[in-house]
């Protein structure tokens, strides 16, 4: 009889005791930060870059941010939203973190933001770029601030750039989920506003590795192909596209050529153009120092995932400095951070009134060359054009922009699709 009892009660009692002990020892000038990233699963490489980027800043600053000692607690969400929600709750309820950072995919962002509201804890999204979190839904999330980007933010200037290249018709192939829709939507809007036409949209499921069914369907009369690939899809698509005999220029979303996997790609990636708020090949002293330090410690070139979290640490540092080395409570924290203007590795960063960054957007092209004194020629995202101070609304009137629906699979509608 006792066995059944013990098995039920045991974990409960043990849990209760552990928690009581833990909360007794909390307190003092300590900043408890929860970090949610994929440590296992198909996005584990991304998660590692995220944690490494954040950790590098901590290492360079004696594990203090704004003068307070940092306790960083990393939890694995396997890039699954419901696991992320459980871990976030655990971080808040059990570890009493002051804030939690992270998540990778847009669905995780949409899932974690309500947790921050419910638990009145700061949530900093360094990666999930889901547009609406800082647009139509911002009022639901008073403790939320984004330090990365919004999905369509780089796409808007990119559409204009595409017009300037003389492209008239573009075929799109993008991962079938919220992030894909928003990146493509932003591009479609600005590209069609300056006279271009999107003639096709193909949506392979997130995580597809075999593009056999999709590549042959790409319309032959397209001037260029716009691809948006994420995670395990990124290395496979250019390979298969090249093997299918493609000669059209390939442009794409920033994650299609991001440094998290670029070094593992082959020559088929050369020439790919994409927009993003960061490139590891950015030729500024600050970036060069960052790349060298990161590479020396982790033996790989930093990706935007690394930079975004490094800069997030920097932003937290500046915020806590301004509030006297102590955590000022969630509302004040978010307010102070949203008022910052800093010079980050990616360039100047400030925030708009919906708590999304205003920053440079770089148009980058994959080239094989030597950089920063490294002696091997490697693949780098050379910056070929910079659009400064780009907000999530680009040149559009904010009110008008917010009236239109969030970019989705069917919006903007594919009016020119053949």
């Amino acid at each position: 009889m006792t066995n059944a009892w013990l098995r039920r009660l045991g974990p409960m009692v043990l849990g209760g005791a552990l928690v009581a002990a833990a909360s007794a020892s909390a307190g003092a000038e300590e900043l408890r930060i929860g970090f949610i990233a994929a440590i296992t699963g198909p996005f584990a490489a991304v998660g590692k870059d995220m944690v490494d980027g954040f950790q590098l800043y901590l290492d360079q600053h004696g594990n203090k941010l704004g003068g307070a000692d940092v306790k960083l607690i990393v939890e694995d969400d396997q890039a699954k939203p419901d696991v992320g929600v459980t871990k976030a709750r655990k971080l808040v309820l059990q570890d009493h973190v002051h804030m939690f950072i992270g998540g990778i995919l847009a669905p995780t962002g949409y899932a974690l933001a309500p947790v921050s509201t419910a638990e009145k804890t700061v949530y900093i999204s360094s990666i999930p770029a889901a547009d609406d979190l800082t647009q139509r839904q911002i009022d639901k999330y008073p403790y939320f601030i984004r330090t990365g980007w919004s999905s369509s933010q780089p796409s808007h200037p990119f559409g204009q750039w595409a017009c300037e290249q003389g492209y008239k018709k573009i075929a799109v192939i993008a991962a079938d989920y919220a992030f894909g829709y928003e990146v493509v939507g932003g591009f479609q809007k600005s590209f069609e506003d300056c006279g271009g036409k999107i003639i096709q949209k193909i949506w392979p499921p997130l995580g597809s590795k075999d593009f056999g069914p999709y590549i042959p369907a790409i319309k032959p009369d397209a001037d260029a192909i716009f691809s948006l690939m994420v995670g395990p899809m990124v290395p496979q698509f250019p390979k298969q596209l090249a093997a299918a005999g493609n000669t059209k220029p390939v442009i794409g979303g920033g994650t299609s050529y991001d440094e998290f996997v670029l070094p593992a790609m082959g020559d088929e990636a050369i020439g790919g153009v994409s927009p993003l708020q960061y490139s590891a090949a950015l030729e500024t002293p600050k970036n060069e120092a960052f790349v060298k330090a990161y590479r020396a410690k982790y033996n790989k070139v930093p990706s935007y995932f690394s930079e975004s979290n490094y800069t997030t640490a920097q932003l937290i540092d500046e915020t806590i400095k301004q509030t006297g080395g102590k955590f000022p409570g969630p509302e004040e924290f978010v307010k102070v951070m949203a008022g910052l203007k800093i010079d980050a590795v990616r360039g100047p960063v400030s925030f708009d009134d919906m708590r999304n960054p205003i920053q440079n957007i770089y148009i980058r092209k994959v080239e094989k060359k030597k950089m920063f004194g490294y002696d091997k020629a490697e693949l780098w995202n050379t910056v070929i054009k910079t659009y400064p101070s780009v907000s999530q609304f680009w040149k559009y009137d904010k009110a008008a922009f917010l009236k239109q629906p969030v970019y989705s699979r069917d919006w903007p509608p594919c009016g020119n699709c053949e």
Binding site: L9, P11, V19, V115, Y177
Partner: protein
């Protein structure tokens, strides 16, 4: 332990849970609520596995259908967030039963490993739809349920919600207990042991199995409804093969054929997964190891330990409570 004492032990354990858990941390309450919700699914599987002798790798289908129904109604149509929460609960039972009724027509003809395969295939069908039918299920993004129902009491309060789930768990457990002790339940056990003999005796074994399948699906749907509100988000992950496998392993770990064993298995695995994973990085080895060892050395699961100890001590040898997992060869 006689049946009477087992029953009292279970009642006492449930009461203990009700009393102790609210005084632990919010996180433990959250985990306990999740474990209770998932336990209903595992117990529904046990009806098939332990009592009818049918191992299914597709229970997640009913779980998923209940969860998605709840999420879609709540997020898109604002249904189920007030007193109509109880309607949704009944709806979960019905939709799980309906799906099982359809699937059962295809699956019940098979048995043993073939049943395993076909339930796997059916589960994958549901997964495929959840994953790709974007307009209905939001595909990979999943559906967020932003608020918990309020009807006089506010389920957003974790303790209140815990009691509601515990209550439904207790009701489900009771209902299933009554079922397996009933003449119908006993014929199921007979089918598990020796289907041929039951057929010869004139039982319509197909019908019995079919009904058991539907009932199991109904409880699976209910479990999904509760899970949707516990987690606040429903995504194709809830309908994956690994979820069905999880349920099966929990049922075996706890002890197939004991009903409560399913709940025990669920609690242990969830505790290990959520708790151990934050303490040590090699928790998955522990979990895998526990499974392997249980399967090798404890075929009756953890609930079978007392019986085994008694056996070792040379007591009355095999009793009626000592069930094994071996299904009749097909």
């Amino acid at each position: 332990m006689t049946s009477r004492r087992k029953v009292w032990a279970v009642i006492a354990a449930v009461a203990a849970l009700a009393i102790v858990v609210p005084f632990t941390s919010s996180f433990v309450i959250l985990l306990a609520t999740r474990a209770l919700a998932f336990s209903i699914l595992v117990m529904s599987l046990d009806i098939l596995l332990g009592f009818t002798g049918l191992a299914s790798l597709g229970q997640a289908a009913y779980f998923g259908v209940g969860a998605y129904m709840t999420a879609i109604l709540a997020a898109k149509y604002q249904i189920g967030l007030g007193f109509d929460f109880w309607l949704v609960v009944v709806g979960g039972l019905l939709i799980g039963a309906a799906l099982a009724a359809v699937f059962g027509l295809l699956a019940i003809r098979a048995s043993g490993v073939y049943f395993l395969m076909i339930t796997l295939a059916l589960g994958q069908c549901v997964w495929g739809l959840a994953y790709r039918w974007n307009s209905l299920t939001n595909g990979d993004n999943g559906i967020n349920i932003q608020v918990r129902p309020r009807f006089g009491i506010d389920l957003a309060n974790e303790v209140t919600f815990f009691y509601v789930v515990l209550g439904l768990f207790a009701v489900s457990l009771f209902a299933m207990y009554v079922l397996v002790r009933s003449p119908f339940g006993r014929s199921l056990a007979g089918i598990r042991e020796r289907e041929l003999r039951m057929k010869i005796l004139g039982y319509n074994t197909w019908l019995h199995k079919y009904v058991a399948f539907i009932i199991s699906g109904a409880f699976g749907g209910l479990s999904g409804v509760l899970w949707a509100h516990t987690a606040g988000i429903v995504s194709p992950v809830n309908v994956e093969l690994t979820t069905s496998v999880d349920a099966l392993l929990m049922a075996v770990l706890g002890g197939a054929g004991t009903l409560v064993g399913g709940a025990i298995g669920a609690f242990i695995v969830i505790a290990l997964r959520e708790y151990l994973s934050t303490v040590v990085p090699w928790w998955q080895y522990v979990l895998g190891g526990v499974y392997v060892l249980t399967i090798l050395y404890l075929p009756s699961g953890l609930m079978g330990i007392p019986a085994r100890i008694r056996q070792r001590r040379g007591a009355l040898g095999k009793r009626e409570g000592d069930k094994t997992l071996a299904t009749a060869p097909s």
